[in-house]
């Protein structure tokens, strides 16, 4: 990675309100980080198969599989963590359960543990991420094809992310001691360290910005290091300020506009002139609204990145376009 902002960061957590495109942004970030031969693991934890959708690859399971090649030959590897599989793996790793593991599954214990105790479920899900982040070449039994330069976590949406990342807090009511509690403590230590940053994805709309501001406060309260605000689906209008100011004037004269339209061979009537003028006025309103949201975001005092609206969606190179934009901004440093 080229940005100095995130030197030493190994885990990028990406959250945002539902509908802001956080999975797409997480994918673009993973791609941008996978430059120059770097290996990046992209993890999802909500069973949505979002990675499979964005990269247009078959459904992901418990295995880490390559989903894309980053610019300059890096690799993006995808993983969909399933809480049940994570619990069994965890039990196997720490307790060498053997047959008992299968029995737990048969009796529905795994179902129970992963549904009724939400804190436990989250410990398991992040536990898997924690394990991937901590892999080092020096550790015995670590295969080199499972080592990563960075891990990007497509986390639950802003409404739940504090609860999800605050595993320690959630678990304290349930398990006051014992191995699960210890695991939660280690995870929290990693999340609060300089190895981790949490990025907030938003649109320039009221609800997403409101949730972003609330989430930032909550995450700060949990001592989790915030990374960047990523404004997604930003539109750069083809109309400049000058034009809009002329349109907004009380004494705006439509005559020159009508003349231009006539000389372009269009069938000009009052409806067309009024309609085009109104289109400009609408834009002014929309921009004013966006400015209000931008100001609210600026108060967060976080580095801010901007991704354009890709009209065709992620099909047809949309992801590559976002990756290129993000890479460029990472190189040049964040704007505001």
């Amino acid at each position: 990675m080229t940005s100095g902002d995130w030197d030493g960061v190994r885990l990028h957590v990406v959250t945002g309100k539902g509908g802001t495109g956080k999975t797409t942004v997480a994918a673009a970030l993973a791609m941008a980080l996978a430059t120059d031969g770097k290996r990046v693991l992209l993890v999802e934890v909500e069973g949505r198969q979002g990675i499979s959708g964005v990269f247009d690859v078959p459904r992901l399971g418990d295995d880490e599989v390559q989903v894309a090649t980053g610019p300059g030959g890096g690799q993006v590897v995808g993983l969909a963590v399933d809480p049940k599989a994570a619990l069994l793996e965890y039990l196997q790793m720490f307790y060498k359960l053997g047959m008992a593991g299968g029995m737990l599954e048969r009796f529905g214990v795994i179902d129970f543990a992963t549904t009724v105790a939400p804190g436990l479920r989250d410990v398991l899900l992040i536990g898997k991420v924690y394990e991937a982040v901590r892999r080092r070449p020096s550790r015995r039994g670590t295969r080199s094809d499972k080592l990563y330069d960075a891990v990007v976590l497509d986390a639950p949406p802003t409404g739940r992310v504090g609860q999800f990342l605050g595993v320690n807090h959630a678990m304290s009511g349930l398990a006051k001691m014992g191995p699960v509690k210890n695991q939660a403590d280690s995870i929290t230590a990693m999340l609060q360290s300089s190895q981790t940053v949490v990025h907030l994805v938003t649109l320039l709309e009221e609800m997403p910005v409101q949730e972003t501001v609330e989430a930032a406060a909550e995450l700060r309260g949990l001592s989790l290091p915030l990374g960047a605000v990523i404004v997604n689906q930003e539109v750069t209008p083809p109309v400049g300020e000058r034009t809009l100011e002329l349109l907004a004037a009380d004494d705006f004269d439509t005559e020159p506009l009508a003349t231009d339209l006539t000389s372009l061979g269009l069938r000009v009537g009052p409806r067309m002139v009024r309609g085009l003028t109104q289109t400009g006025v609408d834009l002014t309103q929309r921009l004013a609204l966006q400015d209000r949201e931008r100001a609210a975001l600026a108060e967060l005092d976080l580095p801010t990145y901007h991704l354009p609206l890709v009209p065709g969606g992620m099909d047809g190179g949309g992801l590559l376009e976002l990756t290129a934009t993000l890479t460029k901004q990472l190189t040049e440093g964040a704007g505001v």
């Binding site: 214990v109 179902d111 309609g275």
Partner: protein, 389 residues
């Protein structure tokens, strides 16, 4: 060729006094709450006595309805026009409190306290996936119970549904909680408490003991004990839970209920709406129609995207005027802006067309995108008017 779907007219629904519940559903972020509020206001101003249950309204929308904070209790909305004799009460779902009340109602006082203090209960009541959906159903059941009888408080209840990823979560929540409580392990955790003489338990007991030992080791004894207490307590109320959930489910398939599916004119939201419509049909639940929210339109429909783009390029070649006033470059910019809007409108139309092709008989109505966020009663009235267009 495009087929024209039938038009959804919300007034027809509101004039039909036999319809006493309207459920607004759809995937997250499509404007369900706004739509529910707009329908409720329109109904009240046409003379119906209405209660609207919102789940998680945006701050400004809540303020518009006079909801200052999370409150399970209906509060009258003062800003509406009551000249037709109607009224509107609004409330926000308080998930935890609804659950607490459910516990209090279905268990003995001493036991209730035990449940409320149990850490598992506290975790489940505030964060179990599906609790919000389940509690929305429960609250709807409660409101409906208050609605019955001669001195009914309301003759119409409008409900918003939780902002889940999938619109189907709302329908599935009671079943999920039910199947969870019916789970094998729950039964097993209960088993020491119940008379252990059952034959199957004897056979299983070796396994049970091993398992309990493992659980103890992994989770710690305290956690296991809490879980057992919680499950034992829940079990005593379970009959009541299930009965209630079944009643609410039955209520939803009643002819007195109408579902309004809300979507934005995008592929994903409409695909979700399409799934939901199919699901309602297979459950024989009454679907009134589809509201497509935030639809872009252009002010000059006759000027096509491509023509506007070409004209803009030509405008760049026109001679500039003297002075600092309007220039051909400004005209070009406006034409490009129009072209973008037209392209956007075209994409949305195509997405809606796919829904129509799959569901040609489901009535639709379109609500125009507004340049501003909805945050007062006047704007909600305007949306209501569009729903009856």
């Amino acid at each position: 060729m495009t087929t024209q779907p039938p038009l959804l007219d919300i007034d027809e629904l509101l004039h039909d006094r036999s319809v006493s519940t309207i459920v607004c559903c759809g995937s997250g972020g499509v404007g369900k709450t706004t739509t529910a509020a707009a329908i409720a206001i329109r109904a009240a101003e046409q003379g119906r006595t209405v209660a609207v249950l919102t789940i998680d309204p945006a701050k400004r929308l809540a303020q518009a309805l006079g909801l200052a904070h999370l409150d399970n209790e209906p509060a009258p909305v003062e800003a509406i026009d009551d000249s037709a004799g109607g009224s509107l009460d609004a409330m926000m779902l308080d998930m935890k409190r609804t659950f607490d009340e459910l516990v209090l109602r279905h268990s003995a006082p001493d036991k209730a306290q035990q449940i409320l203090e149990n850490p598992f209960y506290q975790a489940v009541s505030s964060s179990f996936a599906g609790t919000q959906e389940y509690m929305a159903m429960e609250r709807l059941g409660q409101l409906h119970a208050e609605q019955a009888g001669d001195d009914a408080r309301w003759d119409l209840i409008v409900v918003d549904t939780p902002p889940s990823r999938s619109a189907l979560d709302f329908l599935d929540a009671p079943k999920r909680l039910g199947s969870f409580l019916d789970g094998k392990f729950i039964r097993l955790l209960m088993s020491p408490a119940k008379a252990g003489g059952r034959a199957y338990l004897k056979v299983m007991s070796v396994g049970v003991n091993t398992m309990t030992a493992v659980m103890s080791k992994v989770l710690g004894g305290q956690l296991l004990r809490d879980a057992q207490t919680f499950v034992a307590a829940l079990d005593s109320m379970f009959g009541g839970f299930r009965e209630r959930a079944d009643q609410t489910y039955a209520l939803l398939s009643d002819a007195a209920t109408a579902f309004v599916v809300v979507a934005t004119p995008e592929r994903d939201a409409l695909r979700e709406a399409s799934f939901f419509a199919g699901r309602l049909a297979s459950e024989r639940m009454p679907l009134a129609g589809l509201v497509v929210n935030r639809v872009e339109h252009t002010h000059v429909p006759s000027l096509r995207e491509g023509r506007a783009e070409a004209a803009a390029d030509e405008a760049d070649e026109l001679d500039t005027r003297a002075g600092s006033g309007w220039q051909p470059a400004d005209t070009a910019a406006l034409l490009r802006l129009h072209s973008e809007r037209a392209a956007q409108a075209g994409r949305q139309e195509a997405a809606i067309g796919r829904f129509t092709a799959a569901h040609p008989t489901i009535p639709q109505v379109v609500v125009a995108a507004s340049a501003q966020d909805v945050n007062d009663v006047e704007q909600l009235r305007d949306i209501g008017a569009q729903l009856a267009d």
